[in-house]
Amino acid sequence: MKTIGFIVNPIAGMGGRVGLKGTDGMVEEAVFLGALPLSGQKAARALDAFKRLEKTADVGLSFLTPPGGMGELIVRSAGFHPYIVEANSSFKATTFKATTFKATTSKATAPSTAAIDTIASAKHMMNKGADLILFAGGDGTARDICNAVCDKIPVIGIPAGVKIHSPVFAQTPEKAGELASQYLEGKGLRCVEREVLDIDEEAYRKGQVKTQLYGYLKIPDEQGRLQSRKAGTPLSETASQNLIALSIIDEMQEDIIYLIGPGSTTRPILENLSLPFSLLGVDIICNKKILCKDARERDIIRFVQNKAFKIIITPIGGQGFLFGRGNHQISPQLIHKAGKENIIVAATLQKIGSLKGTPFLVDSGDLKTDRGLSGYIRVTTGYRQEMVYPIQ
C-alpha cells in the first residue's frame, strides 16, 4: 500500500488570468477582477495516472488530503476515497465561493490562510507516513511545502500557479501524476534536490524580477531512468554533483580561503570534506577546515582581509543567476576584490541544459561589478571536466 499526500492550493493561479503576476496576498483583488479557481482542474488531470497505476500495476493506493477544495473534492471525483487530514482550514466548504476568500484573506504581509493550511496539512501528511506529497500550486505553494517538510519526504509539484520558477514542478499536470506513479510503483527512481525559488511579487508587478532562493525540496528524478541505450552510462545529477565536488576539492590550494555559496551543487564539497554546512548560507573554509558557517557579509570581510580567497558558487537552475539570488552575503566589493579568475562556478551539465543556452546572469547590486564579470567563464561540470559558458 502506497500513501499519497495530495494538496491543492485552491487560489493558486487565480492572479494570472487577470494580470496580477501572482496571487500572494491578492486574492481579494483577483476575485474582484473576475478570476476563477483553476488549480483544482489542473490537479485533477494529475490523478489520471493513479487510476492506471491501480489498474495495471496492481499497486494499492491511499490518499491523504485536506478537506474540500484543498483536495478532497478532486480526489473523490477521480473515484478514490481519501482520508481527510484536518488542517484548520477555512476552505472546508464543499464548494468554494469567492466570499470565503474575502472573509479570510489577510493583508499582504502576513501569511495567507492558504499558506497556513498548506503547511499544516503537509506536516500532518508527513507524520502520517505519506510516501510522497503531490501538490498543486505555484512557487508560493512550493515555499509553504518546503517550510513544512524540508527535504524529509519526496514531493512533486503540479504546475497550477502563476509563477512556476522552481524546478520542483513537473512540466504538465499529467507528467506530475506520471512521475509520482512511477515513483510509487517502485520504478527505481532516485530523488534529487531542487531549488525552491520565488520572486518578489511586489517587485515583479513593478516590472522587476527579484528571485530568492528559499530552500530545497526532494523530488523523484525522471532523468534517472530515462535511458539512451546506445550510449554508455550517463551520470545522474547527484553523481555529477559529487564529481564536481571532488574535482574542486582536488584543486584546492593551501592557505587560500574558499567562500562556498549555497546550493545542492556546492554542498557536496563540504559533505566530502566532512565539514558542517548551512543549507542556504555562505560557508567559509581554508585548508579543508571550516572557518565560519553561515557567514554574514561582515564575517566574510573579516576572514578574507588581506588574504587570498576564491568564491565557489553555482547558478540558480533554470535562470542562471550567479550572484544576487540567495547569496547576497557575497557583496559586489567581495566579488570585485576576488576578481573573475578566482570565481569557481560549479554546475552539472543537466543544470546548464536547463538554461537552454541563455547566458549566466549577475545581479550583484553593483552594475560595474556585474559588467566586469561579463564575457566567458569556465564552469566545473564534472571530475576534471569544465565548460566555457557565457555571462551576460
Binding site: R229, T233, G382, Y383
Partner: protein, 474 residues
C-alpha cells in the same frame, strides 16, 4: 586522354534507391532546390572538393565485385588447406555450423541500439551469454563482451585499481607482448605495470619475487591460466592469498576452452576474471574473431566498477513474461569518482558474445569437458612425439600445460625462422617464433594443438620436423 575534372554521382545505384534522377528531382522540388549541388550549402567552397576522389572505378555489377574479392582471397593460403600449429592468442578450433548460422541471421547481424522491447532477442541472447559464461567461470556477474582479452585485462586492471585505490599492478614477465602493450597504453599515465619473475623450470610465478614486489602500492596481481606459453599456473591460491594479504586484487585471465577440465579462477581466489571468447565458436578471421569477457562476484563494489553494459533479467507488467534491462545503469553514482569517470563504452563485440552463447549451449557440460580432455591428450601426445626428435625439446617447461607449449629448438642449431620456412614448404604453419619477444629462450616456438588436430596431423608434423632439423645446416 582527358582528365575528368568534374564531380559526378552514380545514378541508379542498387543500394541507393533515390539515386534515380526522377525521384531526386521530385524530392529536390519539394525542398525548393533544383540540383543536388545546391545541397551542402553550409560547407564553405574553400573546403569543398572540386572533383571526384581518386579511387578505382566502381565494380558496378555484383558479379564483378564477387569475382574481384574472391580473386584477392584466393591469393591467401588458409588453415583449412594447410596444417596450422599457430595459436598465441588466436586459436583454430572447430566452429559448430550452428554458430555461423545464428550469427549470420540478418536480424542479429544488422541490429544495433534498439530497446529491450524491439531488440528483445538481442537482450535475451546476451543475458544468456552472460549466464553461460557465468557457469563456466563460476561467477555471478559477467559483462557484455569487450574488444578482446587484452582490452578485458586492461579494463579489469583499471577496475582493480579503482577498487583498491592503488596504482601499481604486477604482471607476469612471461606474458604476451602485444597484450602487455595494450594494457600499458590503456593504463598509462596513471597505472604502472611491474613484471614478476618466473621459475625457469615451470614458468610459474617466482613467489619470492612476487612477495618482494607486493606492497601497499599494489592494486592488483594479474596472471593467466593457462599462461600465454601454455603452462598452468598451479599456484593460483597462493598468489591470490599473497595479493589479498597485501590489500591487492587478484585478477586472472583465462582461455575458456580450458574450463571443462581446469578449475575456474574463482576457486583459487580470483576477484576479477577476464579472458578471450574467440575459442568459443568464432573463426580465427585473421585475428578478427576476438572478443573479451570479464566476470566478478556479485558484490556492489565490483558491479559498480564495470564500464561495460550488464544485462539483467526483470519482470514486466505482464505475468509470466520475461523482461531484460540494463543493470545499475547509473553506475557512476557510486564507487571511485576520482578515477576519471569509468572509462568509455561504445561498440565492442556483441555478436561474438551471442555466438559464444550459442557455442556453450551446444557444447553443454560434457562437450566442454571432452573438449578440454581432448586438447590435453593431443597436446601431450604432440609433446611426446616432438620430444623424441634429436636436438628438440618437446616442452621447455616440465609441468603440464594446456593447448600450447614451447618447443625448444636451441640444440638443433637452427633458427625457428628457418624451420618455419621449411615447414611452409610442406604446407605446415609452424608455431610462433618466440625469439623476438622472449630472447631468453633462444630459438623456441609456441606450438598450439586443439581438438581439430588428428593423430595423423601430429604425426605428420613430427615427421617433417625431424627431417628438417636432421638436414645439414644451410
Amino acid at each position: 586522354m582527358t582528365i575528368n575534372k568534374t564531380i559526378n554521382g552514380f545514378k541508379h545505384h542498387p543500394y541507393i534507391p533515390n539515386s534515380a534522377p526522377q525521384i531526386q528531382q521530385q524530392m529536390l522540388e519539394e525542398i525548393g532546390l533544383s540540383s543536388l549541388e545546391e545541397l551542402h550549402e553550409q560547407i564553405p567552397d574553400s573546403l569543398k572538393l572540386k572533383e571526384n576522389l581518386n579511387l578505382p572505378k566502381a565494380l558496378t555489377s555484383e558479379f564483378e565485385l564477387k569475382k574481384h574479392v574472391t580473386g584477392l582471397l584466393s591469393k591467401n593460403r588458409h588453415c583449412e588447406e594447410n596444417l596450422n600449429f599457430l595459436g598465441a592468442g588466436c586459436w583454430q578450433h572447430h566452429v559448430p555450423a550452428i554458430c555461423d548460422e545464428i550469427n549470420s541471421r540478418g536480424e542479429f547481424l544488422t541490429a544495433y541500439g534498439g530497446e529491450m522491447y524491439n531488440d528483445f532477442g538481442r537482450f535475451q541472447s546476451l543475458f544468456e551469454y552472460q549466464s553461460l559464461v557465468g557457469e563456466l567461470v563460476d561467477m555471478d556477474v559477467v559483462n557484455v563482451p569487450t574488444m578482446d582479452w587484452s582490452q578485458a585485462a586492461a579494463t579489469a586492471i583499471r577496475m582493480a585499481s579503482r577498487i583498491s585505490g592503488r596504482k601499481q599492478v604486477l604482471v607476469p614477465e612471461l606474458m604476451e607482448e602485444d597484450k602487455f602493450l595494450v594494457i600499458k597504453n590503456y593504463c598509462s599515465p596513471d597505472i604502472t605495470l611491474v613484471r614478476v619473475g618466473y621459475e625457469s623450470e615451470t614458468g610459474r610465478f617466482d613467489l619470492a619475487d612476487l612477495k618482494s614486489k607486493l606492497s601497499e602500492k599494489t592494486a592488483a596481481v594479474y596472471f593467466e591460466n593457462p599462461s600465454f606459453l601454455g603452462f598452468i599456473e598451479s599456484q593460483g591460491q597462493a598468489i591470490s592469498d599473497l595479493a589479498h594479504a597485501a590489500g591487492a586484487q587478484s585478477v586472472v585471465g583465462v582461455d575458456p576452452s580450458s574450463l571443462g577440465v581446469l578449475i575456474p579462477p574463482a576457486r583459487y581466489g580470483a576477484d576479477i576474471v577476464c579472458g578471450e571468447l574467440q575459442p568459443l565458436g568464432m573463426h580465427m578471421n585473421y585475428g578478427g574473431g576476438q572478443a573479451g569477457f570479464m566476470a566478478t562476484r556479485d558484490q556492489e563494489k565490483y558491479v559498480m566498477e564495470f564500464p561495460s553494459r550488464l544485462f539483467g533479467i526483470v519482470p514486466t507488467n505482464t505475468a509470466g513474461e520475461y523482461g531484460f534491462d540494463d543493470v545499475a545503469y547509473d553506475r557512476t553514482s557510486f564507487g571511485h569518482h576520482r578515477e576519471h569517470g569509468k572509462e568509455y563504452v561504445g561498440t565492442q563485440s556483441a555478436l561474438w558474445g551471442i555466438t559464444a552463447g550459442v557455442y556453450l549451449a551446444t557444447m553443454g557440460p560434457e562437450g566442454m569437458k571432452e573438449l578440454g580432455q581432448t586438447i590435453l591428450q593431443k597436446s601431450q601426445y604432440a609433446i611426446h612425439l616432438i620430444d623424441k626428435i634429436p636436438g628438440v625439446k618437446g616442452s621447455l617447461f616440465n609441468t603440464c600445460g594446456f593447448k600450447e607449449f614451447v618447443v625448444d629448438f636451441n640444440k638443433t642449431g637452427m633458427t625457428v625462422d628457418s624451420i618455419n620456412k621449411a615447414l611452409v614448404e610442406h604446407n605446415i604453419f609452424g608455431g610462433k617464433d618466440l625469439s623476438m619477444d622472449f630472447p631468453q629462450f633462444g630459438q623456441s616456438a609456441l606450438y598450439c594443438i586443439t581438438e581439430i588436430h588428428s593423430k595423423q596431423d601430429i604425426d605428420c608434423l613430427a615427421e617433417i620436423l625431424e627431417t628438417i632439423v636432421a638436414t645439414p645446416k644451410r
